[in-house]
Each structure stands twice: as C-alpha cells, then as structure tokens.
Symmetry: D2
Subunit: 294 residues, 4 copies
C-alpha cells in the first residue's frame, strides 16, 4: 500500500481519490476549495492544508487539474510539488494537457531527482466513479511498472505508450478522432434527412458496416432525438482541440481535417452550445444547412 498525495479533487479527482482509499492506500488530499477536501476525509482520506503538507511524506503524488496553467502552477510553481516533494517521489499528472508541458514538467522534475508520468484518462465522470477509465501513460517503463497497480485501481485499460508526453499525445489523438468522427456523422445525418431517408434505419445499417464506430453507436440516439445533455461537453472538447492542434503543430504533423473540425467545435461554442454534449456538433451542421436550431 502506498502513501499518496492527491492534488485536485474535482469532478474527476474526487472519485479517483476515493477509489484509491477504498483499495487500501493512504491518500492525503489537497484542493483549492475546502468542501472537496472534506469529501475526501468523509471517504476515508486525510486532509492537507497546502500542497507542501500533502506531498511532504508522499511516495506518489497524483495531480488532476483543469489545464496547462494549473499543472505548471501546481507542479512547477512556488510552493508547488517540485519544491516540496522528496527526491525519488513519483509524480503522476493525470490532467489532460499539451504533451509539451508534460515534457517540460518531466525535465524540471528530473533535475530534482523526481520521477514523473503523464497519465491522462478518458471515460469521464462515470468512468472515474466506476473505476473503468482508460489510462494512457507516458514516461519511463520502470516508473510505469511501479504505478501500474495504482492505475489498475482507477481504470480497466492501462497502457504504456511511450516516453514523457506520450500519454498526452495519445489522449490528444483520441480527442481528435472523436471530434472528427462526430462531425462526419453529423454531416451524414443532415444529408440523409435532407434527402428524405428514414434516419433511424439508415444509421442502423451504417453502424453495421465499415462506417461503424463507437461514436455512431453511442451518439446516434442523441442525434436522432436531438438530446444533447452531456456526456462530454463541447467546452471541454474545444479545450482539447486546442491541445491537439498545438501539439501537432509542435511536431510538424499536418491536421487538414482536424484543424477544420477544431474551428467547427469553436463555432459550436461561440453559438452557445458549449455546455451541450459534443454530439451537438450536429447543430452546427444544421446551422450551415439553414435550419433554425433554437
């Protein structure tokens, strides 16, 4: 059993920390707001009043925060993890950020004898609660092996995909493919409807052939019924498209289609659809088709 510091007890972090407690680990949590810390204590964890206190005695530090600036602040910043963790500590950042920031964190940590993994997840709040996340891990093989039992507490698909940053790269690729797959299904839906086809029958046959996809299976009901309760919010996918376009640019990988879809995700948000499920990209195609969607 490990002594774990858990920084960032939000929608994702809170159930993940609870699952680690349940598995028998000693989890000391820190969060910017107190109720989340109280929740962890109620779940059997311990409270810290600062990052410094949380990480002081930790063998493993897990961070789960919203975006690049928070990762930089929490890990690299004043009073942050690197200033306070002991040499040899394993810092696992499970936030979804740019691979470039993960690499920067890894290099800064290495200079202090601290080991890191980047381990973003997919599966959402439900996946966090039910401990069925997919976890894509970048970093050293030995560090991955050491962390594997912890990851297995949190998820069901846990894969080491390469060196520092690789976890983030795969997460970014995931979000890229998902957004494009949604967009093309949305284009197909409007095309089918405009042509007078029986949409439900059409999507069923499409799902059964080479056009089939997890997106089509899981999102076709949303699209047919125009029910866009999240699920995964467009606001978050917009953030992720920013990550993947920046990351691809950094490694000189062309995203002709991906960058266009990033614009369409941004447009959905600009049209007030940010809090809807990402399958609401359909509404953007409908607007282009001249339909009234509100």
């Amino acid at each position: 059993m490990s002594r774990i510091a858990f920084i960032g007890l939000g929608i994702m972090g809170s159930p993940m920390a609870a699952n680690l407690v349940k598995a028998g680990h000693t989890v000391t949590g820190y969060n910017l707001t107190q109720p989340a810390i109280d929740k962890l204590v109620a779940d059997g964890g311990r409270a810290a009043t600062s990052i410094a206190e949380a990480v002081a005695e930790a063998e493993v530090v897990i961070t789960m925060v919203p975006a690049d600036p928070q990762v930089e602040q929490v890990i690299l910043g004043e009073g942050g993890v690197l200033e306070n963790a002991k040499p040899g500590t394993l810092v696992i950042d499970m936030s979804s950020i740019t691979p470039q920031t993960s690499i920067k964190v890894a290099e800064a940590a290495a200079a202090k004898g601290i080991r890191t993994l980047d381990a973003p997840v997919s599966g959402g709040e439900a996946g966090a609660i039910e401990a069925v996340l997919s976890i894509m891990v970048g970093g050293g093989a030995a560090d991955f092996a050491e962390a594997k039992p912890l990851f297995d507490v949190l998820g069901t698909t846990v894969i080491h995909v390469g060196p520092a940053g690789a976890g983030q790269t795969v997460k970014a690729a995931n979000q890229l493919i998902v957004a494009v797959n949604i967009q093309v299904v949305a284009e197909a839906v409007v095309f089918l409807e405009n042509a007078g086809v029986d949409l439900q029958a059409a999507l069923d046959v499409l799902a059964g052939g080479l056009a089939g996809s997890t997106v089509l299976n899981r999102k076709k009901a949303n699209m047919v019924d125009r029910q866009f309760a999240p699920g995964f919010r467009i606001d978050l996918h917009h953030k992720d498209m920013g990550i993947v376009t920046a990351a691809a640019r950094a490694v000189e990988a062309p995203l002709p289609v991906g960058s266009l879809v990033a614009q369409l995700v941004a447009s959905a948000r600009a049209n007030g659809d940010g809090s809807l499920d990402h399958s609401a990209l359909l509404r953007g195609v409908e607007r282009l088709a001249g339909r009234k969607v509100n």
Copy 2:
C-alpha cells in the same frame, strides 16, 4: 422461384448472379463481354445476347454496372430495360450511383408501369461471393417486401431506408463516413509517430475507447505495416466521393469536412495511389508532413 434477368456480370455481378442460381432462381444474364456470360452459364444460368432478350420474360431485372452513365444507358437507353421489359416488372438497380439518377430512373420506369428499387451494396467482392453483403434499399415498401427474399440470398443486412434514391443516399453516406474516418486516423497516425509514441500500443488503446471504429479495427494493421493491397481501391472511393458531394449539393446538405476529404482522396489518386486500398490516404498525410512515401 423467380425468373430474373441479370445485367452486368462483373466482379460483383458475377458471384451475385451465381448465388441466385444456387438458390434455385432462373437467372438469364447479359454482359458486354462474352466470357462473363459463359461463366454464368457454367454456374447454371442462361445466356442472353441482348438486354431485350434477357428481360423479355423476366419478373425481376437486376442491374449491376459501374456508374451513372451505364445505368442510364442500360435502363433508359435505346434497346435498354425500359424499352423491353413488360409492365409490372420489378427492376432492381444494385449499382452505386447518385440518388438523383436513381430517382430519374424510377420516374421514367413508373411512366411505363415498371417498378424499381435502388439497392446498392457494401461488402466488396468477398461479400458478394460469400453472400454477406449489406444492402440498402430505396423504393416502395411493397416492392421491397417482394424483393426481400432475393436480397436475403445475396446479403445478411438488408434494410429498407426510404423512397426511390434512398438506398443510394445511404450508400453515399456510408462512403462519406468511411473516407473521413480513414483520413482522421491517418492524421492521428502521423501525429503519433512524429511525437515519438509507440504507434501499435496507441492504436490499440484508441480502438478501445470512444475513438474506436470499424475503420480503426480493420485498417490499423494496414497503416502500421504500410501494406495497402486492396481491399477497396482509392479509385472507387474517388468515384464515390464524387457521388456524395454531388448528391449533398443537390439536397443542400453542407459537407465542409466531407468535401475537403473528397479533395484529399482525389489527391491520392493524382499521386498514383488509385489502385491502393483506401487506407493509403495515410500516404497523403505523410506527403503533407514532408515524408518520402515512395
């Protein structure tokens, strides 16, 4: 058992006609070249020396030809099906063409008391031989019901999706989604490789999550190994992208992403990749990334 005229005994038509013979139907075939007719006779069918002769006594006429102009010629043209079939005949066009041409055929046929279905297929040569095609059918419900037993001889997924042209529309939507799903996986592959990620591990984890798709499952090995033996040729997908962009334009459905991918498919062909499997769209992304692909 039905008396069937089968026009167009090519790579797809030949095994389909043979399967109908095997199921006990009387199949009279016509083709522009003799060897294909001889093959049908060897399979137990009958030979006709003209469309007129083939359709004269037929209850059902099936056409399976390359593209719109051949459908127009074979069905609407001089000496074609409509000139020679008896009123009441059911004409089933299983070619992949624009919905607009299918509608035109349906209207011309109706004027002569001839019934039609458009019933394009997916599944390729292997699907035709093994009788496991997906068949998307447009036309009247009663005509569909009448033809259903024949379709069941040829395929395993047989769905009535709407009025005349609807089968073609769904086939076009299928090809749209497939092309875009391939393209985005190709963009992801180059991104992952440029970032130094373990590609095989990454694609495995991607296939297991929301980014998963039949394209990813069936084509990831092609992409990892750069093995692009068809499968489904880019030349054919280029023809199909022409159909879907034209059909979408006709019904005022926007394809911002689809039309861009149509350009990339055309570019693949212009770069000499027309006879490769459509997963070779990867080579186009590699060219954009400055890699030498030949």
Copy 3:
C-alpha cells in the same frame, strides 16, 4: 459588318445585342419569351421566331444562356444551332458553363464544319450595358482573330487564353479566386471586430498593402455597412462554384481551399442569402461566430 444571330436576350444578352446593333451589325435575335425580342427590335435588331430562323443566314451565332443544360439544348439539341447553321458559321457561346461542355460543343460543331469559340464574360449587367466586359476566349487563333472586332464592341479586356474550353476555364478560375478572396476578407472582418479594432481604419491599411485586392477595394464598404444589395448574387456564385469544382475534378486539379469555400457559398444560399451580393459571405462567418445576422 456581320450578320449575327443572337440567342438568349436576358439581362446580359439584351444589352450586348443592342451594343452590336449600335456598332452597325445586323443582329437577328431569338429568345424564349417575346418581350426580350420586342426590346431588340426596338433597339434596331430583327426578330426571329425560332433558332432555325435566327441562324439560317447568319455568319456569326452568339449564344448567351443560363447554364450547361440550356447550352446543350440550344446548340446541340433538336431544332438547335448545329442543325440549322450553315457549315463555316462561327458559333460563339458567351454563357458561363463547364469547360467540358464547351469542349463537347466544339467537337460536335467541328463534325459539321462549324467553328466555335467559348467566350464567357465578367463584369455583370453594368459591364454589358456600358460595353466594358472582360471576355476570356477559348478556341482557334484564326477564329479568335475573326471575332475580335465583335468582342471589342462588347468589352474592353478581350484575351485569347487557349483552345476550346479555355475561356470557360479562366472564367471558372476567376470565380474561384473571387469567392475565396471574399471569404478571407469576411474572416478577417469578424476577427478584427471581435478584437475591438477600428474596422474602417484596419481595412484601409490592409487595402494598401500586400493584402490589397479588387475585392477588398470594391466590397469593403458593403461589409462595413452590411449593405448586400447585388452586385453579383450568391445564387450565381453558387452555380459558378459548381462549375469550378466539377471542372477541376475533371482535370485532376486539387482545390482544398476552393472546395471548402464552395461549401460556404452553398451554406449562404441554404441560409436564405442567395439573392444577396456575394460579399454577404460575411454573414456566414458571423453565423459561425454566433452572431445573430437577421
């Protein structure tokens, strides 16, 4: 002075025919509707009751009709120009159509000993009235030389750009560039406004540098004032984008940006902006930005 048959006396054809009369030519006109013929007679021309009558004694036949199907019907169809014109006649089609149809017309005419030029124009109704059209001519050099004096009556920029179809190709390229130049200015306008920049000052400085264009000069006032009275209607530009994307596909020329803009033009039309000036592409960008434009 020439004996000219003029087929198609619409918004463009009527003033062009009148200008030829004014220059001293004998112009016999035919149109589907009578008032346009009466107008030509009032302008000093002669009336014909059929294409056959119009072209019977003509040295030169000029056609100016809406699109490919009308050109095919008027020139190639039953009772059309090729059936009735004498061998040696010079047929000048000034409609804007696909280069492929112009080539087909040229080949059919050559088989009857009839010479052809494709000579689409730009400059709009005002250019036709004031005889300041730009005329892009495809066909034989000798035929161009023979027709040059007539073109000089109609326009101020008259250029021979290549063999049959070349005039249409250049016209298509013109419409391609214009649409894209408008679209990018529209993207810039929304960007500048969202960023709080003084739009008028910004467009003035942009117009003076490498970003300057005839589009920016002529359309910036429309955009600043949101005044979209045509001008050149989006409906017509939509037709032209259909021509250029089809023509480019036929010669395997990639239009990654052009095809995307064709989709945006189609979207403008689907949103009810078809009768506005093409500078109203700005409204499409505003919709993508979440602005209410109506």
Copy 4:
C-alpha cells in the same frame, strides 16, 4: 528630436534605427550580438552594453525582436525594459507578435506608469531600408500622436487602428489575407495548367478583373517562372499563421479557411520550402496534384 533606445538591431531593426539617426534623433542601440551594435555606431548611433543602459535616459524605447518570447523577455523580463525605464517613457514594440502578448505588456507597463504602443510593420527588409513601411498601431490616441513623427520617419502608411493589441490584430489579419490570397492563386494556377490554358494570358486577364489583387500582381511572375527567392519566407509566414490562429481563437473568431491555409503553410515548411518565398505555396498544390516539384 527624441532620445530613443532601440532594442533589437536585426534585419529590420538595423535599417530602421539608422533611419531614425538620419532624421536627427539620438538613438542608443542594444542587441544580443555586437556586430549589429557596431553597425549602428557606424551609422551615427550610440552603443549600449545592456538594456538597462540603453533605456536609462530614453524618452522612447523601440523594440524589434523575433517573437513573443523575446518580447516578454526584453520588456517584462529580469533586467528588461520595464525594470529600467523611467515612468512616463513611451515603449513602442514593433515586433510582430500575438495581440494577447501586446495587451499583457501594456498592462504590465501601465502598472509602472509606462506607456506602450504596439506597432508591427509590413513591407519587409526593403521597406525598412527605404523607409516605406506600413505601420499598424495599437494603443492610446495621445501616445500615437506623440509617436507619429517617429513612425513617419520609418514608413509611409501609418495608421492608428485601436487600443493596445489592435496593431498586432491588424498585422495578423494582413498575414491571414495574404496567405489565403496566395493559396487560391496557386490552386487556380494548377487548375489552369492542368486544363491546358495559356497561363500567362490567363493570369493577366484575371489580374484585371474582380479576381485582381496585389498578391496576383506581385507574385504571378514568381509562379509562372517557378522562381521562389524571397521575398517573404514561408518560415516567417508559418510563424504569423500561428499568431493569427491563436489570436482568432482567443477572441472566438472563426477561421475555417484561414486555419486550413495555416495547415498548408505548415506543410510547405515540413516539405523543406521554409526558406522560399511564400508564393511557393504553389509547390504544395502541385504536390497535391501529383507533380514532382523537386
């Protein structure tokens, strides 16, 4: 006459500083490398050994450095302009960077009683030498009025376009329009050539109509002759496309076409064309068309 500190004496900064000296101002220069400082001294300026020394007695500080990080370092960083300039100093950043960084600089400066303008230029090395730059200025009206005489020494088009950041926004819009205008001309060129049109004649007629642009006028010879000596390098335009896509994202302005062209510019660079003139985007279209370009 003003006491000016000039930080950044590169290809652009060096002739600009020299022109200010020539106009009678006292110019003290600082650069990371000594030869550029020696050059300024030879031109009649003064040398400083640090930013601190350069700005200590300055009324106006001009910075001209490559990109956002250098601006942040030189102005905001340790030992930088804000640490060393007197309250009331006017800091004019003439670098091309993101508007967001300009705004950040303006806010940091204001907190110290230092005034700022962002004043990026277009016109290139030749424009700097000949003092015919276009200068787009963001910031306060009074500060602009005060700086106007200095700008008039450096350029011929000097326009105040809005508050802090507005100069950068307009520069970004300029680069957006230029890149897209080049790209569409490149698409047109390949289309015209594939169709067998006389390219030179076609471009001449296009330049004379609504398709005309400064890009077409200045770059058509490059394209016809495939001579791509810069001019303005693709590497620099790639940097600028990064600025405009980031800036547009920040203000929620959609760039469907702009973002696609940004990908094509990046692709040109990935294909080794970074040091060519931006008109070499033609080579990217040729690659898509399957031509060998090397």
